[in-house]
Symmetry: C2
Subunit: 115 residues, 2 copies
């Protein structure tokens, strides 16, 4: 005969195993969604850089400055507001935007220097 | 009578003015596209964080580590390949991904600490 404690342990272990399998399945499903979203983000970022590269060329051709603080301030305020609406941390949205804009300005400066 | 040089200068100035107006219109059009893309990016980032927050909770509940280097390596390789396909600088895609993942891991660690 199996000891009651031992039987209980086996049942608990089986339950834990089921729970772990469910957790693994949920993790896989969520990771699939993250991968889909990441692909969409990469293609959108590519499209954004196509547009900013055109802006960079235009600015270089017309001798406009690479950065435009007033425009960036407007963009930042708008993105923070959109982030709140989307339930995304506005501080993260701001850090993210600053990161992307730094890369854009680097491209603009390069475009101006290449002329 | 106007001096030929002066007339030429006036014509050139008029041409320059038309060119500048066209450039300003193009800039406005491109900025409109960038703003649309940014709104889409913010909503997608929000959706990504919803998914990673669920992953964070799941990992905290099951005592899984907050970061998963093998998974991150796979994601990075895939994103670099997608970036090349989308004509986005893969170095930028990598920097961007590292930036986003750092924020996600910060959330996961917080989720684990809150338990």
């Amino acid at each position: 005969m199996t000891e009651p404690t031992s039987a209980r342990t086996t049942a608990e272990t089986a339950e834990d195993a089921i729970e772990d399998t469910e957790a693994a399945e949920t993790l896989q499903r969520l990771r699939g969604s993250i991968d889909n979203i990441d692909a969409a983000l990469v293609y959108l970022l590519a499209e954004r850089f196509r547009a900013t590269k055109q802006v960079g060329r235009l600015k270089a051709e017309h001798g406009m400055p690479a950065s435009d603080p007033a425009r960036e301030e407007q963009q930042l305020a708008r993105l923070r507001s959109l982030a709140i609406d989307a339930e995304l941390d506005p501080e993260f949205a701001q850090k993210w935007f600053t990161f992307v804009v730094a890369e854009v300005i680097r491209h603009h400066v390069e475009a101006a220097e290449d002329r």
